[in-house]
Symmetry: C2
Subunit: 343 residues, 2 copies
Amino acid sequence: MARIAVVAGDGIGPEVVGQARKVIDAVLPGVEATGYDLGAARYHRTGEVLPDSVLDELAGHDAILLGAVGDPTVPPGVLERGLLLKLRFAFDQYVNLRPSRLWPGIAGPLAAVKPGEVDLVVVREGTEGLYAGAGGSLHRNTPAEVATEESLNTRHGVERVIRDAFARARRRERRKVTLVHKTNVLTHAGSLWARAFEAVAAEHPDVTTEYQHVDAAAMFLVTNPQRYDVVVTDNLFGDILTDIAAAVTGGIGLAASGSINPEGRYPSMFEPVHGSAPDIAGKGVADPVAAVLSAALLLDQLGHVEAAARVTAAVATELAGRTPGAPLRTEEVGDRLAGYAVA
Amino acid sequence: MARIAVVAGDGIGPEVVGQARKVIDAVLPGVEATGYDLGAARYHRTGEVLPDSVLDELAGHDAILLGAVGDPTVPPGVLERGLLLKLRFAFDQYVNLRPSRLWPGIAGPLAAVKPGEVDLVVVREGTEGLYAGAGGSLHRNTPAEVATEESLNTRHGVERVIRDAFARARRRERRKVTLVHKTNVLTHAGSLWARAFEAVAAEHPDVTTEYQHVDAAAMFLVTNPQRYDVVVTDNLFGDILTDIAAAVTGGIGLAASGSINPEGRYPSMFEPVHGSAPDIAGKGVADPVAAVLSAALLLDQLGHVEAAARVTAAVATELAGRTPGAPLRTEEVGDRLAGYAVA
Ligand SMILES: CC(C)[C@H](C(=O)O)[C@@H](O)C(=O)O
Ligand SMILES: CC(C)[C@H](C(=O)O)[C@@H](O)C(=O)O
């Protein structure tokens, strides 16, 4: 039976993760879950972000479920780089998966887009690009200061994430993959991405392909998000595009994500895109849907495809029954979702 | 009297530029305009993109007005890098100015945003960052290929564009500047931007400031574009954010831009954000509003503030009088705008 590590984290993290676990237990009884105390609270208590011993322990699990980490009292970047990005790189989570659907029942911000019309997934590269941490500065704090950031891209890293995107497209109805880059300006990396994309596309004649510059894609996500099925892109472009995709489908409050090592050599990590929301923490009013959808991605990744589908269907039922603006209680939503999922 | 170089360009470029010139002539008679044949047509005829002799001649003008260059028959990147980016760098056009307004009369894509509520300007750095062209690749076309792109940032380059943003904020009602970067991941460049921003902010106690990560800003441009006044950001982030801003205010068909050398040591260049639109070229149906708004930015930059304001007001009148979906004729719109501007 699956062994998962649970990092409940800070703020609303424990509240929403509690519901995700409830739903997992409902559809897949017997999952072994071990809690790990990481995040702002631990950092303040011990000064530690992610001790090597904990990293080793996490490595022994099949997957990680994370609520949210962070707090305004932690210096910016400490938890992002020391925990989230460290896990992505240490566990070679090269597929950063971010589905966006405009669910029936959810009023998106776009006047011309109707619920059900948007159903896309961004496959964002997770271990390369400008996130490699390459760069430096000279003459700091003088008028002569220069600072660099380097985007590192390998054929190995680019091709494997593109392959993953095509494999996902084959599981979907429209079977379309859009490559997003900025090949007209970032010519070296752009050329590598474009050539790897062409090579993989040639092996998948049953998949429709297109290419768009990142600025155009950002625009079309607002004017015509319906056009996308699977989008594959680099680490930083994916960071930006997935937030736009979340925004046009009702906000990051509903958005799930997975940082995936597809081969399963290392554990994959699943987390809602939203943060720890300290303003509403402890009040029992956080929406657990993003955490529960992240649990569905986790189940799917571990091969429990049918259980995952039941969780996703439960979310659809829940959202379709909501009255816009009506208050919600985290626990009650979790109970309902667990109920729908086993019904 | 001002001497401007006019690069009408390809596709609908000549049609829309014709109207922009008409409007300039109406509000500021006597401007001396010289046409330069650059773009896809010249490239195909002569193989030349921007001969040095033409660059020298352009340098002798007060400003450049450009329609649109490009055509699907030109290899991607040739005109972008050989003409547009070359001019930005050669003429040290470090302020890339992109205003976005949701004009009364225009139905934007956002259900909750009413015309008149959005009025922001992005001040995008134009001569550094990932656009510097630094990067390379090794082991091309082998499984060992690696490709890099380097973002170069100098205190000199960063501070001057931030200063420009604060100066513009002082001319506006809300006097607010938002810095957008990704300081939690791009720590070297991010730190440089953040420190330069703080230093300039300290000299402008009358200006409100805030910082946002680029992914959050991309999201808020969709969920709450009203919150922005002046946004200052790096070259690539600005490329993406301005297309989102254009999208939420009715599309790139209405968006104007200026690539500005504020000191006037070199000519600044003004152009609509839209492309050459070969599909509708020659039909006389292209909307010249973006080109005319670009002409207003040109006039403002050359110090003809009152003439610029009259052109902008003419556009407001034109748009307020439009019936959504009604066909338009390029020439007629230009005539009306010229008429409103002198009325
Ligand atoms: C927290 C931050 C480092 C992270 C990223 O940039 O990847 C976040 O924005 C995300 O999208 O998961
Ligand atoms: C054509 C291209 C090089 C250019 C850019 O990336 O700056 C365009 O997208 C723009 O925004 O002006």
